[in-house]
Protein backbone atom coordinates (compact mmCIF):
# COMPACT_ATOMS: atom_id res chain seq x y z
CA UNK A 1 0.00 0.00 0.00
CA UNK A 2 1.42 3.33 -0.97
CA UNK A 3 -1.10 5.60 0.66
CA UNK A 4 -0.33 9.23 0.99
CA UNK A 5 -0.17 11.18 4.18
CA UNK A 6 -2.66 13.80 3.01
CA UNK A 7 -3.40 17.36 3.93
CA UNK A 8 -6.55 18.21 5.86
CA UNK A 9 -7.95 20.03 2.84
CA UNK A 10 -7.63 16.91 0.69
CA UNK A 11 -9.23 14.71 3.32
CA UNK A 12 -12.21 17.01 3.77
CA UNK A 13 -12.76 17.31 0.02
CA UNK A 14 -12.50 13.53 -0.37
CA UNK A 15 -14.98 12.87 2.44
CA UNK A 16 -17.48 15.42 1.11
CA UNK A 17 -17.39 13.97 -2.39
CA UNK A 18 -17.72 10.44 -1.00
CA UNK A 19 -20.68 11.40 1.20
CA UNK A 20 -22.48 13.06 -1.69
CA UNK A 21 -21.98 10.04 -3.95
CA UNK A 22 -23.21 7.67 -1.23
CA UNK A 23 -26.20 9.86 -0.37
CA UNK A 24 -27.27 10.29 -3.99
CA UNK A 25 -27.04 6.59 -4.75
CA UNK A 26 -28.97 5.63 -1.63
CA UNK A 27 -31.68 8.21 -2.24
CA UNK A 28 -31.96 7.03 -5.86
CA UNK A 29 -32.25 3.40 -4.81
CA UNK A 30 -34.93 4.24 -2.26
CA UNK A 31 -36.98 6.19 -4.80
CA UNK A 32 -36.62 3.29 -7.22
CA UNK A 33 -37.86 0.63 -4.80
CA UNK A 34 -40.29 2.59 -2.64
CA UNK A 35 -43.50 1.77 -4.49
CA UNK A 36 -42.67 -1.93 -4.80
CA UNK A 37 -41.73 -2.35 -1.15
CA UNK A 38 -44.77 -0.43 0.14
CA UNK A 39 -46.99 -2.70 -1.94
CA UNK A 40 -45.16 -5.79 -0.63
CA UNK A 41 -45.60 -4.66 2.94
CA UNK A 42 -49.31 -4.05 2.41
CA UNK A 43 -49.84 -7.49 0.87
CA UNK A 44 -47.82 -9.09 3.67
CA UNK A 45 -49.97 -7.61 6.42
CA UNK A 46 -53.24 -8.23 4.56
CA UNK A 47 -52.19 -11.83 4.08
CA UNK A 48 -51.64 -12.23 7.80
CA UNK A 49 -55.08 -10.75 8.52
CA UNK A 50 -56.74 -13.15 6.07
CA UNK A 51 -54.75 -16.07 7.47
CA UNK A 52 -56.74 -15.87 10.71
CA UNK A 53 -59.94 -16.77 8.82
CA UNK A 54 -58.19 -19.26 6.56
CA UNK A 55 -60.69 -22.01 7.38
CA UNK A 56 -63.65 -19.87 6.37
CA UNK A 57 -62.55 -18.40 3.03
CA UNK A 58 -64.84 -20.82 1.22
CA UNK A 59 -64.28 -22.85 -1.95
CA UNK A 60 -61.37 -24.67 -0.30
CA UNK A 61 -59.14 -21.62 -0.70
CA UNK A 62 -55.92 -21.23 1.27
CA UNK A 63 -54.31 -17.83 1.80
CA UNK A 64 -50.82 -19.23 1.25
CA UNK A 65 -51.77 -20.41 -2.24
CA UNK A 66 -53.34 -17.13 -3.32
CA UNK A 67 -51.39 -14.78 -5.54
CA UNK A 68 -50.71 -11.21 -4.42
CA UNK A 69 -53.48 -9.81 -6.62
CA UNK A 70 -56.00 -12.34 -5.37
CA UNK A 71 -55.16 -11.39 -1.78
CA UNK A 72 -55.78 -7.71 -2.54
CA UNK A 73 -59.00 -8.51 -4.39
CA UNK A 74 -60.36 -10.68 -1.58
CA UNK A 75 -59.38 -8.07 1.00
CA UNK A 76 -61.17 -5.32 -0.94
CA UNK A 77 -64.32 -7.34 -1.48
CA UNK A 78 -64.77 -9.16 1.79
CA UNK A 79 -63.04 -7.12 4.48
CA UNK A 80 -64.47 -4.02 6.05
CA UNK A 81 -62.05 -1.78 7.93
CA UNK A 82 -63.05 -0.03 11.13
CA UNK A 83 -61.01 2.17 13.44
CA UNK A 84 -62.03 2.43 17.08
CA UNK A 85 -61.00 4.68 19.90
CA UNK A 86 -60.35 3.35 23.38
CA UNK A 87 -64.03 3.86 24.40
CA UNK A 88 -65.17 1.54 21.65
CA UNK A 89 -66.57 4.29 19.40
CA UNK A 90 -65.98 4.14 15.67
CA UNK A 91 -63.65 6.84 14.39
CA UNK A 92 -64.88 7.76 10.91
CA UNK A 93 -62.78 8.24 7.77
CA UNK A 94 -59.84 6.15 8.89
CA UNK A 95 -58.62 2.87 7.45
CA UNK A 96 -57.63 0.11 9.86
CA UNK A 97 -54.66 -0.85 7.69
CA UNK A 98 -53.15 2.60 8.29
CA UNK A 99 -53.11 2.08 12.06
CA UNK A 100 -49.71 0.97 13.31
CA UNK A 101 -49.97 -0.59 16.76
CA UNK A 102 -46.28 -0.07 17.47
CA UNK A 103 -46.94 3.67 17.16
CA UNK A 104 -50.20 3.49 19.14
CA UNK A 105 -48.42 1.66 21.96
CA UNK A 106 -46.29 4.73 22.62
CA UNK A 107 -49.30 7.05 23.00
CA UNK A 108 -51.15 7.67 26.24
CA UNK A 109 -53.76 4.95 26.74
CA UNK A 110 -56.69 7.32 26.28
CA UNK A 111 -55.46 8.50 22.84
CA UNK A 112 -54.88 5.11 21.32
CA UNK A 113 -56.68 3.93 18.20
CA UNK A 114 -57.52 0.31 17.50
CA UNK A 115 -57.72 -1.33 14.09
CA UNK A 116 -60.57 -3.76 13.47
CA UNK A 117 -61.08 -5.84 10.35
CA UNK A 118 -64.48 -7.40 9.70
CA UNK A 119 -64.36 -10.35 7.33
CA UNK A 120 -67.60 -11.51 5.71
CA UNK A 121 -68.23 -14.76 3.90
CA UNK A 122 -71.62 -15.94 2.64
CA UNK A 123 -72.79 -17.10 6.06
CA UNK A 124 -70.92 -15.35 8.79
CA UNK A 125 -69.07 -12.27 10.00
CA UNK A 126 -65.68 -12.48 11.67
CA UNK A 127 -64.13 -9.74 13.80
CA UNK A 128 -60.36 -9.66 13.47
CA UNK A 129 -58.61 -7.93 16.38
CA UNK A 130 -54.97 -6.84 16.41
CA UNK A 131 -52.82 -7.09 19.52
CA UNK A 132 -49.24 -6.25 20.31
CA UNK A 133 -47.05 -7.04 23.31
CA UNK A 134 -43.58 -8.09 24.38
CA UNK A 135 -41.86 -11.45 24.12
CA UNK A 136 -38.50 -12.33 25.59
CA UNK A 137 -36.23 -10.25 23.37
CA UNK A 138 -38.47 -7.88 21.50
CA UNK A 139 -42.00 -7.14 20.40
CA UNK A 140 -44.55 -9.77 19.45
CA UNK A 141 -47.86 -9.14 17.76
CA UNK A 142 -50.80 -10.99 16.33
CA UNK A 143 -54.28 -11.00 14.83
CA UNK A 144 -57.20 -12.85 16.38
CA UNK A 145 -60.35 -13.70 14.44
CA UNK A 146 -63.47 -13.95 16.58
CA UNK A 147 -66.61 -15.64 15.30
CA UNK A 148 -69.95 -13.80 15.19
CA UNK A 149 -70.87 -15.14 18.65
CA UNK A 150 -68.13 -12.72 19.83
CA UNK A 151 -66.57 -15.41 21.97
CA UNK A 152 -65.16 -18.27 19.90
CA UNK A 153 -61.75 -17.94 18.23
CA UNK A 154 -61.79 -18.76 14.52
CA UNK A 155 -58.04 -18.47 14.06
CA UNK A 156 -54.97 -16.54 15.12
CA UNK A 157 -51.63 -15.54 13.66
CA UNK A 158 -48.60 -14.46 15.62
CA UNK A 159 -45.41 -12.79 14.54
CA UNK A 160 -42.35 -11.57 16.36
CA UNK A 161 -39.30 -9.41 15.87
CA UNK A 162 -36.53 -11.39 17.51
CA UNK A 163 -37.61 -14.45 19.49
CA UNK A 164 -35.21 -17.41 19.64
CA UNK A 165 -35.56 -19.78 16.66
CA UNK A 166 -36.72 -23.19 17.81
CA UNK A 167 -38.06 -21.80 21.11
CA UNK A 168 -39.98 -18.53 21.25
CA UNK A 169 -40.10 -18.24 17.47
CA UNK A 170 -42.27 -21.37 17.40
CA UNK A 171 -45.27 -19.13 18.10
CA UNK A 172 -45.00 -18.25 14.43
CA UNK A 173 -42.92 -21.02 12.82
CA UNK A 174 -44.85 -23.99 14.19
CA UNK A 175 -48.41 -23.92 12.79
CA UNK A 176 -49.49 -26.21 15.65
CA UNK A 177 -49.16 -23.39 18.20
CA UNK A 178 -51.58 -20.86 16.67
CA UNK A 179 -53.66 -23.87 15.57
CA UNK A 180 -54.39 -24.70 19.21
CA UNK A 181 -56.37 -21.49 19.62
CA UNK A 182 -59.02 -22.45 17.08
CA UNK A 183 -62.32 -23.07 18.88
CA UNK A 184 -61.19 -21.70 22.25
CA UNK A 185 -63.52 -19.36 24.12
CA UNK A 186 -62.19 -15.89 24.94
CA UNK A 187 -64.47 -14.48 27.62
CA UNK A 188 -65.48 -15.83 31.01
CA UNK A 189 -67.76 -13.60 33.10
CA UNK A 190 -66.95 -10.61 30.93
CA UNK A 191 -63.19 -10.96 31.37
CA UNK A 192 -60.60 -12.22 28.91
CA UNK A 193 -59.86 -15.76 30.05
CA UNK A 194 -57.96 -17.25 27.11
CA UNK A 195 -54.34 -18.00 28.06
CA UNK A 196 -51.23 -20.05 27.38
CA UNK A 197 -50.53 -22.43 30.25
CA UNK A 198 -47.01 -23.61 31.09
CA UNK A 199 -46.91 -27.37 31.51
CA UNK A 200 -50.07 -28.05 29.51
CA UNK A 201 -53.59 -26.65 29.45
CA UNK A 202 -55.98 -27.47 32.27
CA UNK A 203 -59.30 -25.91 31.31
CA UNK A 204 -59.55 -26.90 27.65
CA UNK A 205 -62.26 -24.31 26.97
CA UNK A 206 -59.93 -21.37 27.54
CA UNK A 207 -56.34 -22.63 27.70
CA UNK A 208 -53.71 -23.78 25.24
CA UNK A 209 -50.42 -25.62 25.87
CA UNK A 210 -47.29 -23.56 26.36
CA UNK A 211 -44.03 -24.24 24.51
CA UNK A 212 -41.28 -25.87 26.57
CA UNK A 213 -38.26 -23.64 26.82
CA UNK A 214 -40.22 -20.56 25.80
CA UNK A 215 -42.02 -19.67 29.01
CA UNK A 216 -41.37 -15.93 28.82
CA UNK A 217 -42.54 -15.71 25.21
CA UNK A 218 -45.68 -17.68 26.09
CA UNK A 219 -46.37 -15.51 29.12
CA UNK A 220 -45.92 -12.56 26.75
CA UNK A 221 -48.55 -14.05 24.44
CA UNK A 222 -50.97 -14.44 27.37
CA UNK A 223 -50.34 -10.90 28.56
CA UNK A 224 -50.71 -9.54 25.02
CA UNK A 225 -54.00 -11.39 24.46
CA UNK A 226 -55.54 -10.43 27.78
CA UNK A 227 -54.59 -6.76 27.59
CA UNK A 228 -55.04 -6.41 23.82
CA UNK A 229 -58.45 -8.04 23.58
CA UNK A 230 -59.70 -6.13 26.63
CA UNK A 231 -59.23 -2.89 24.66
CA UNK A 232 -61.89 -4.11 22.23
CA UNK A 233 -64.36 -5.03 24.98
CA UNK A 234 -66.39 -1.77 24.92
CA UNK A 235 -66.94 -2.08 21.16
CA UNK A 236 -67.78 -5.79 21.31
CA UNK A 237 -70.33 -5.06 24.01
CA UNK A 238 -72.04 -2.40 21.88
CA UNK A 239 -72.41 -4.69 18.87
CA UNK A 240 -73.61 -7.53 21.06
CA UNK A 241 -76.56 -5.44 22.24
Amino acid sequence: MNLMESSNKYIITFIIIMTVVAAVSLAGMRELTLSASTKNEEIFSKRSVLLTVNDYLGKGLNVNDLSDDEVLKMFNEQVEQVVLNINGEVVPNLLAERIDLSVEKKKAEADRLLPLFVFKNEKEKFYILSVRGSGLWDEIWGNIAVKSDLNTIAGVTFDHKGETPGLGAEIKDNPAFPGQFIGKQIFKDGEVAVLVRKGGSQDKTYEVDGISGATITCDGVTEMLQRGIAYYLPYLETIEN
Binding site: M1, N2, L3, M4, E5, S6, Y10, I11, F14, I15, M18, T19, A22, S25, L26, M29, R30, L32, T33, A36, S37, N40, E41, I43, F44, K161, G162, T164, P165, G166, L167
Partner: protein, 238 residues
Protein backbone atom coordinates in the same frame (compact mmCIF):
# COMPACT_ATOMS: atom_id res chain seq x y z
CA UNK B 1 14.92 -6.15 -28.13
CA UNK B 2 14.54 -5.69 -24.39
CA UNK B 3 11.66 -3.30 -24.96
CA UNK B 4 9.77 -5.80 -27.09
CA UNK B 5 10.30 -8.51 -24.51
CA UNK B 6 8.93 -6.30 -21.79
CA UNK B 7 5.89 -5.48 -23.88
CA UNK B 8 5.19 -9.17 -24.47
CA UNK B 9 5.62 -9.79 -20.78
CA UNK B 10 3.08 -7.17 -19.83
CA UNK B 11 0.56 -8.48 -22.31
CA UNK B 12 1.06 -11.99 -21.01
CA UNK B 13 0.69 -10.81 -17.45
CA UNK B 14 -2.78 -9.36 -17.96
CA UNK B 15 -5.17 -11.85 -19.55
CA UNK B 16 -8.82 -11.06 -18.87
CA UNK B 17 -9.50 -14.40 -17.26
CA UNK B 18 -6.35 -16.47 -16.80
CA UNK B 19 -5.12 -18.96 -14.24
CA UNK B 20 -4.62 -16.27 -11.64
CA UNK B 21 -8.18 -15.07 -11.99
CA UNK B 22 -9.46 -18.63 -11.84
CA UNK B 23 -7.44 -19.18 -8.68
CA UNK B 24 -8.92 -16.04 -7.14
CA UNK B 25 -12.39 -17.36 -7.81
CA UNK B 26 -11.88 -20.97 -6.74
CA UNK B 27 -9.37 -20.80 -3.89
CA UNK B 28 -11.80 -19.30 -1.36
CA UNK B 29 -14.15 -22.22 -2.01
CA UNK B 30 -11.62 -24.67 -0.54
CA UNK B 31 -8.07 -23.71 0.46
CA UNK B 32 -8.74 -20.22 1.78
CA UNK B 33 -12.41 -20.59 2.69
CA UNK B 34 -13.51 -17.56 4.70
CA UNK B 35 -15.42 -19.61 7.28
CA UNK B 36 -13.55 -22.88 7.68
CA UNK B 37 -10.02 -21.57 7.16
CA UNK B 38 -10.02 -17.84 7.85
CA UNK B 39 -12.76 -18.25 10.52
CA UNK B 40 -14.44 -15.01 9.40
CA UNK B 41 -18.17 -14.30 9.26
CA UNK B 42 -19.05 -17.08 11.68
CA UNK B 43 -21.62 -14.99 13.59
CA UNK B 44 -24.04 -14.66 10.70
CA UNK B 45 -23.40 -18.26 9.72
CA UNK B 46 -24.70 -19.29 13.15
CA UNK B 47 -27.71 -17.06 13.08
CA UNK B 48 -29.38 -17.54 9.73
CA UNK B 49 -28.63 -21.11 8.71
CA UNK B 50 -31.71 -22.79 10.18
CA UNK B 51 -33.40 -22.71 6.77
CA UNK B 52 -31.85 -23.23 3.33
CA UNK B 53 -33.75 -20.64 1.32
CA UNK B 54 -32.84 -17.60 3.47
CA UNK B 55 -29.25 -18.89 3.58
CA UNK B 56 -29.08 -18.86 -0.21
CA UNK B 57 -30.45 -15.31 -0.30
CA UNK B 58 -27.96 -14.28 2.38
CA UNK B 59 -25.11 -15.90 0.43
CA UNK B 60 -26.05 -14.00 -2.72
CA UNK B 61 -26.31 -10.72 -0.79
CA UNK B 62 -22.90 -11.17 0.84
CA UNK B 63 -21.35 -12.14 -2.50
CA UNK B 64 -22.72 -8.99 -4.13
CA UNK B 65 -21.52 -6.81 -1.27
CA UNK B 66 -17.98 -8.27 -1.09
CA UNK B 67 -17.60 -8.19 -4.87
CA UNK B 68 -18.73 -4.62 -5.37
CA UNK B 69 -17.12 -3.17 -2.26
CA UNK B 70 -13.84 -4.79 -3.34
CA UNK B 71 -14.32 -3.34 -6.81
CA UNK B 72 -15.11 0.21 -5.72
CA UNK B 73 -12.44 0.28 -3.02
CA UNK B 74 -9.86 -0.96 -5.48
CA UNK B 75 -11.01 1.68 -7.97
CA UNK B 76 -10.30 4.55 -5.57
CA UNK B 77 -7.51 2.88 -3.60
CA UNK B 78 -4.83 5.32 -4.75
CA UNK B 79 -6.89 8.36 -3.79
CA UNK B 80 -8.01 7.25 -0.33
CA UNK B 81 -6.33 9.42 2.31
CA UNK B 82 -4.39 7.23 4.71
CA UNK B 83 -5.82 8.75 7.88
CA UNK B 84 -9.46 7.97 7.04
CA UNK B 85 -8.94 4.66 5.25
CA UNK B 86 -11.25 2.62 7.48
CA UNK B 87 -14.02 5.20 7.40
CA UNK B 88 -13.97 5.27 3.61
CA UNK B 89 -14.17 1.47 3.47
CA UNK B 90 -17.05 1.42 5.91
CA UNK B 91 -19.00 4.01 3.94
CA UNK B 92 -18.58 1.97 0.77
CA UNK B 93 -19.71 -1.22 2.51
CA UNK B 94 -22.62 0.44 4.30
CA UNK B 95 -23.88 2.05 1.09
CA UNK B 96 -23.80 -1.24 -0.79
CA UNK B 97 -25.47 -3.17 2.04
CA UNK B 98 -28.28 -0.61 2.19
CA UNK B 99 -28.74 -0.85 -1.58
CA UNK B 100 -28.93 -4.66 -1.34
CA UNK B 101 -31.40 -4.42 1.54
CA UNK B 102 -33.67 -1.99 -0.30
CA UNK B 103 -33.54 -4.20 -3.39
CA UNK B 104 -34.44 -7.29 -1.41
CA UNK B 105 -37.32 -5.51 0.28
CA UNK B 106 -38.76 -4.67 -3.13
CA UNK B 107 -38.08 -8.05 -4.73
CA UNK B 108 -38.82 -10.59 -2.00
CA UNK B 109 -40.50 -9.12 1.04
CA UNK B 110 -41.09 -12.32 3.09
CA UNK B 111 -37.42 -13.25 2.93
CA UNK B 112 -36.41 -9.70 3.82
CA UNK B 113 -38.70 -9.98 6.83
CA UNK B 114 -37.20 -13.32 7.80
CA UNK B 115 -33.58 -12.20 7.52
CA UNK B 116 -34.53 -9.03 9.41
CA UNK B 117 -31.44 -7.44 10.93
CA UNK B 118 -28.95 -9.88 9.44
CA UNK B 119 -28.93 -8.20 6.03
CA UNK B 120 -28.00 -4.93 7.74
CA UNK B 121 -25.39 -6.75 9.77
CA UNK B 122 -23.47 -7.68 6.60
CA UNK B 123 -21.83 -4.31 7.25
CA UNK B 124 -20.08 -5.83 10.25
CA UNK B 125 -19.31 -9.12 8.52
CA UNK B 126 -15.58 -9.56 8.94
CA UNK B 127 -15.21 -11.11 5.49
CA UNK B 128 -16.10 -7.89 3.71
CA UNK B 129 -13.74 -5.59 5.57
CA UNK B 130 -11.10 -8.33 5.73
CA UNK B 131 -11.00 -8.65 1.94
CA UNK B 132 -10.90 -4.88 1.47
CA UNK B 133 -7.88 -4.57 3.76
CA UNK B 134 -6.11 -7.70 2.59
CA UNK B 135 -6.78 -7.59 -1.12
CA UNK B 136 -8.65 -4.68 -2.64
CA UNK B 137 -6.36 -1.99 -1.17
CA UNK B 138 -3.40 -3.48 -3.06
CA UNK B 139 -4.87 -4.91 -6.26
CA UNK B 140 -6.57 -3.88 -9.48
CA UNK B 141 -10.37 -3.56 -9.70
CA UNK B 142 -11.14 -6.59 -11.89
CA UNK B 143 -9.13 -8.98 -9.75
CA UNK B 144 -10.52 -7.48 -6.56
CA UNK B 145 -14.00 -8.02 -7.94
CA UNK B 146 -13.25 -11.70 -8.60
CA UNK B 147 -11.70 -12.05 -5.17
CA UNK B 148 -14.92 -10.69 -3.69
CA UNK B 149 -17.07 -13.08 -5.72
CA UNK B 150 -14.84 -15.99 -4.70
CA UNK B 151 -14.95 -15.18 -1.01
CA UNK B 152 -18.69 -14.55 -1.09
CA UNK B 153 -19.23 -17.92 -2.73
CA UNK B 154 -16.88 -19.65 -0.28
CA UNK B 155 -18.90 -18.17 2.57
CA UNK B 156 -22.17 -19.05 0.85
CA UNK B 157 -21.15 -22.64 0.19
CA UNK B 158 -20.57 -23.31 3.89
CA UNK B 159 -23.79 -21.47 4.75
CA UNK B 160 -25.84 -23.65 2.43
CA UNK B 161 -24.18 -26.90 3.58
CA UNK B 162 -24.87 -26.05 7.24
CA UNK B 163 -28.43 -24.97 6.41
CA UNK B 164 -29.21 -28.19 4.51
CA UNK B 165 -28.10 -30.28 7.50
CA UNK B 166 -29.94 -28.09 10.01
CA UNK B 167 -33.18 -27.78 8.09
CA UNK B 168 -33.43 -31.48 7.26
CA UNK B 169 -32.67 -32.68 10.78
CA UNK B 170 -34.31 -29.82 12.66
CA UNK B 171 -37.47 -29.04 10.72
CA UNK B 172 -37.80 -31.99 8.38
CA UNK B 173 -38.24 -29.72 5.39
CA UNK B 174 -35.94 -28.46 2.65
CA UNK B 175 -36.14 -25.13 0.82
CA UNK B 176 -39.15 -24.20 2.97
CA UNK B 177 -40.65 -20.90 1.88
CA UNK B 178 -39.24 -21.16 -1.63
CA UNK B 179 -41.07 -22.35 -4.75
CA UNK B 180 -38.84 -25.48 -4.85
CA UNK B 181 -40.61 -28.73 -3.98
CA UNK B 182 -38.96 -32.11 -4.14
CA UNK B 183 -41.19 -35.18 -3.95
CA UNK B 184 -39.44 -38.42 -4.79
CA UNK B 185 -39.40 -42.13 -3.96
CA UNK B 186 -42.77 -43.69 -3.31
CA UNK B 187 -46.24 -42.95 -4.60
CA UNK B 188 -48.69 -40.09 -4.40
CA UNK B 189 -49.67 -40.05 -0.75
CA UNK B 190 -46.50 -41.37 0.83
CA UNK B 191 -43.37 -39.94 -0.68
CA UNK B 192 -40.32 -41.04 1.26
CA UNK B 193 -38.70 -37.70 0.59
CA UNK B 194 -41.17 -34.84 0.56
CA UNK B 195 -39.57 -31.48 1.21
CA UNK B 196 -42.84 -29.73 1.94
CA UNK B 197 -44.05 -31.69 4.96
CA UNK B 198 -42.48 -31.41 8.37
CA UNK B 199 -41.34 -35.00 8.72
CA UNK B 200 -39.23 -35.79 5.77
CA UNK B 201 -38.89 -39.55 5.90
CA UNK B 202 -42.15 -40.31 7.61
CA UNK B 203 -40.43 -41.81 10.63
CA UNK B 204 -37.88 -39.19 11.63
CA UNK B 205 -38.70 -37.09 14.69
CA UNK B 206 -37.43 -33.54 14.28
CA UNK B 207 -34.53 -32.63 16.52
CA UNK B 208 -35.14 -29.21 17.99
CA UNK B 209 -31.47 -28.80 18.92
CA UNK B 210 -30.70 -28.42 15.21
CA UNK B 211 -32.88 -25.31 15.02
CA UNK B 212 -30.97 -23.61 17.84
CA UNK B 213 -27.88 -21.58 16.92
CA UNK B 214 -25.71 -23.90 19.03
CA UNK B 215 -26.20 -26.67 16.46
CA UNK B 216 -24.68 -24.45 13.77
CA UNK B 217 -21.57 -24.08 15.90
CA UNK B 218 -21.22 -27.86 16.19
CA UNK B 219 -21.76 -28.37 12.47
CA UNK B 220 -19.29 -25.67 11.48
CA UNK B 221 -16.78 -27.18 13.93
CA UNK B 222 -17.21 -30.59 12.35
CA UNK B 223 -16.90 -29.09 8.85
CA UNK B 224 -13.62 -27.41 9.86
CA UNK B 225 -12.38 -30.73 11.22
CA UNK B 226 -13.31 -32.59 8.03
CA UNK B 227 -11.77 -29.84 5.89
CA UNK B 228 -8.46 -30.05 7.75
CA UNK B 229 -8.38 -33.82 7.66
CA UNK B 230 -8.82 -33.81 3.89
CA UNK B 231 -6.25 -31.08 3.40
CA UNK B 232 -3.44 -31.45 5.98
CA UNK B 233 -1.51 -28.43 4.72
CA UNK B 234 -4.16 -26.21 6.31
CA UNK B 235 -3.19 -27.44 9.76
CA UNK B 236 0.25 -25.84 9.51
CA UNK B 237 -1.05 -22.46 8.39
CA UNK B 238 -3.04 -21.67 11.48
Amino acid sequence: MVEILEKVKIEEKEPFFGTKEKKLLLDPLMDTNPITVQILGVCSALAITSLVYPSIVMAISVTLVTAFSNFFTSLVREYIPKQVRMIVQLVIIATLVTIVELGLKALNFPIWKQLSVYIGLIITNCIVMGRLEAYAMANKPWRSFLDGIGNGLGYGAILVIVAIIREMLGKGTLFAGSPVEIKIIGNNATYLIDTTTSTMFGWYANNNLMVLPAAALFIIGILIWIHRTINPKLVDIS
